[in-house]
């Protein structure tokens, strides 16, 4: 007997299951391949890459908060050439889809990185990070104004050799407006939510805990915000939505799918349990069997 169908299609790309890693929490998969078979993931979404190596922020870069964590890594990465030579080479024989996250400080940065990755066979999709709250120039500045978001999306999509996902920031007043701007700019899909900007103060030392002062909040604490925003975004656009934010188990993932997400990503939960994404995949399968549902696709946006 065949089990339920977990496959989904996003912008013409077929995924064995809807569960991915959230950019920045999983490197390029190498470290976690020592814990479980990363080929079982629906997709690996890599940590953001830029045209040249980025150093990131001073330490402390991370802090724990109630049911979550703050990070201000600042997108440290080896640059796109090393990424292609080493990270993509590592992913060559991993049997899953690869979505490369791209970051930049200027429009030109994004364009040259997107162009460089467009010819790489191993890259299935590009996710554009216009929503990182931890770098001073660029990044989130492109993701908080609908006009600016439209422009950069438009310019990227004109040259991208791969389907483009625009990753949206939750640090906006109207997420539906941002989703529509990305769609109008030609995005093939959107993903949300990136982290919520937060701050933690050490009361005894009377200092900021993070060297960067502010950081991005992730973890179970932000999950209800993610569900709400995925719901609003999914109702504002026709392009597929990938949902993320505080997913720690299949229930959390199913909430996002029911709210309208075609795919879901597991982020900082991996730090708590390395194989969380596998638990989520198995849990979604069990749910489908328990409810006699043939395909996970029947659940996408089913609560409306």
């Amino acid at each position: 007997m065949n089990g339920p169908d977990l496959s989904v299609e996003i912008a013409g790309v077929r995924f064995e299951n809807p569960v991915m890693t959230a950019s920045g929490t999983f490197g390029s998969g190498r470290e976690y391949s020592e814990f479980f078979d990363i080929g079982r993931l629906g997709a690996i979404v890599t940590k953001g890459v830029s045209t040249v190596p980025w150093e990131g922020n001073p330490v402390p870069r991370v802090a724990e908060t109630p049911s979550g964590m703050l990070n201000a890594i600042g997108l440290q990465n080896p640059g796109v050439e090393t990424f292609i030579r080493e990270d993509l080479a590592f992913l060559k024989d991993v049997g899953t889809k690869v979505i490369v996250n791209v970051c930049g400080k200027s429009t030109e940065d994004y364009l040259s990185c997107v162009e460089r990755l467009g010819s790489e066979e191993r890259v299935d999709m590009l996710e554009i990070n216009v929503s990182c709250p931890n770098v001073k120039e660029g990044a989130i500045a492109f993701g908080q104004d609908p006009k600016v978001l439209f422009d950069i999306t438009d310019r990227i999509c004109r040259i991208a050799g791969k389907p483009v996902i625009m990753k949206l920031s939750p640090n906006v007043t109207d997420i539906a407006e941002m989703a529509r701007a990305a769609e109008a700019g030609g995005a093939d899909a959107i993903s949300l939510i990136n982290t919520l900007t937060g701050m933690k103060i050490d009361v005894e030392k009377r200092t900021f805990v993070l060297a960067n002062r502010t950081g991005g909040l992730s973890g179970p604490a932000i999950h209800p915000v993610a569900v709400r925003m995925v719901y609003q975004a999914a109702h504002a656009v026709r392009i597929p939505v990938i949902g993320m934010g505080g997913v720690a188990d299949a229930q959390d993932a199913l909430e996002l799918i029911l709210a309208g997400a075609s795919g879901v990503a597991v982020g900082s939960a991996v730090f708590n349990r390395p194989d969380t994404a596998i638990q989520v995949i198995d849990g979604i399968r069990d749910y489908l069997i328990r409810h006699g549902i043939g395909s996970v696709r029947e659940l996408i946006g089913a609560v409306c």
């Binding site: 190596p53 991370v62 090393t82 900082s268």
Partner: protein, 267 residues
Amino acid sequence: MAKTQSLMAIVEKEKLTEDIYRIKLKYGREAKIEDIIPGQFVGVYPPQKDKILPRPVSICDFEKEERLITLVFRTAGCGTRDIASLREGDELKVLGILGNGYDIEQLRGKKTALLGGGIGIPPMLYLAKKLSGIADVTCYMGYRDSHTFLLDDFKAASKTVTATEDGSIGVKGNVLDALQADAQKGTFPEALCACGPLPMLRAVQRFAAERDILCFLSLEERMACGVGACLGCVCRTVSEDEHFGVPLARVCTDGPVFEQSQVVLEW
């Protein structure tokens, strides 16, 4: 697939001082036990579900035959307090074994001083035991005051010199004061291994660099993943990382033990 996350049973728990605890953890029946190098650590998860990140704790002792590891930690926040509130028989979620330890081979035959300050003291016990018969070891242990811990264990394992900031026990001052007092008497070390607060590590680094002594430092930094994926816990290095192309190293996987000339202890 070499790394694991597993449940380990607390078989012994002891309060050593007001805020320092010792727990002995037993590997599960299925666990494959590999050798542990001194300086390596585990990630310990607080039992409460609202805490998501592992706490890095160095291995204080390892008894392979008995399938036991010993951890000594300070209750610094609510996560470590929750761990300390567990009882014998409870289980702890543990990630590891993690990180790179001390290079024992480089210390072979050398007159070696182990310097531990505060909560940097515990890993030196396992190192002292491992170096027994391999190197001529003296342990210099620095405490704030008379509330010492593990001293009897150190004395049983090697020559041990105690320093306290208030002078209540042993040499008045820090571990480096104690080391220099001995050096003046003619017992100069050929190698140093140090773990402790950043000001102490900086002083040890300077001491070793000025005298061109082989020196390993064990660094501490706030961590998230513990396995090298998130880049949360980096330190400054002298040369560029081969992969990342910037002068930074990951404390969790490139360290936590570094040769002193490789790291820059400023940001």
